[in-house]
Subunit: 201 residues, 2 copies
Amino acid sequence: MREREIVDAALRVFAQRGYHAAVVDEIADLAGISKPMVYLYLGSKENLFVACVRRSSQALVRAFREAADSGDAPELRLWRGLSAFFAFVAEDRDSWVMLHRQAPEQSEAITAELAQARESVMREVADLVRRGIDEGGADDRLGEVDVDFVAQALVGAADSLTDWMEQHPREAPDRVALRLMNMIWIGMRDVLGGEMWSPPE
Amino acid sequence: MREREIVDAALRVFAQRGYHAAVVDEIADLAGISKPMVYLYLGSKENLFVACVRRSSQALVRAFREAADSGDAPELRLWRGLSAFFAFVAEDRDSWVMLHRQAPEQSEAITAELAQARESVMREVADLVRRGIDEGGADDRLGEVDVDFVAQALVGAADSLTDWMEQHPREAPDRVALRLMNMIWIGMRDVLGGEMWSPPE
DNA sequence: AAGTAGACTTACTCGGAAGTAAGATTAATA
DNA sequence: TATTAATCTTACTTCCGAGTAAGTCTACTT
């Protein structure tokens, strides 16, 4: 299907050059057609970009969700989800760049699409964190605010670790996820257990 | 000083609109002068942008470093550094947007400047993490690779938590830093102590 | 008063890229 | 072989914004 081919090409060019530096002619060339065809199928550059973001975002969320979707313990599901995330980034770097390394400066539509992509991932993670806490049998010490905090930190850490992964290509995605789990989950569990760090007076 | 005023104005406009959408005329207007003056003082739009990034970056690194610079225990220094970081972001949001929310798609010079800014912060953090580990008296279980990993995750988490902070304006910067310390530091300490999470076989 | 230097502005040029009008090519029918 | 419809391209137009040439204003010197 033509539209798919165009989006494929656009994804590569956008990821490499960024929205502004990307030139529609180049996308058309890469797709093996001429510029007006791009406009015929996708309408505008902005719309083309949104189509790319949407596809990449759905692919990522789907990968995470499928990996994390089982009847097992939340922490195991979270680990699987994170592994899938790192695997996705390693394999389809263009999609990741698309979602991560784009200035949210752009138009309304683009900003909204990117925000929604992040929101989707965040919801998945927050959900698992919440279940993990509930299951831990803790006395509800942590509320929704704390769940959001942990989820936000976790997602941010994962984002950033994609850079680390690039510098350590020998490390398999699920090993990276394991490292992260050890950093976050144990700390969270112990905090739930009442352990705390605080600055000395 | 004229140059300073121009950079002030540019920072606001760049932060609000992003590099491409920012128009030099608007910057000039905001600075209360005309466009050619901007070019007289700063040479080019790109150079102007770099000047903004550099200033913001230096301010941030300085804030972190000064806060973290004491003879105390590494974890305390880290906490202070993180507190300063969150305070900086809360107070000078434009600078933060400048450093964080810009597409690295731009020109060589801009990309380099942004990378260097991040690199500076990362070095500071990694340094404290390393000291913290050494001091923990652990049997060198963790090498340089792990230090980098922790630093990368920590910086990423902090980056991302700036969003969380925006949604919870009542939470003071040092409280946010404390939350983060509890998530990360305790986990790290326990992992050093041999505790580990691993997926069941 | 006349000259001159520095600070500043108006009013352009010029290039680059999004978007499009009009025509060409191909393939399928009759 | 002529017709027509779908697909695609060439060759524009148009606009926007970075960068600049040339001139103006102010203040100070002589």
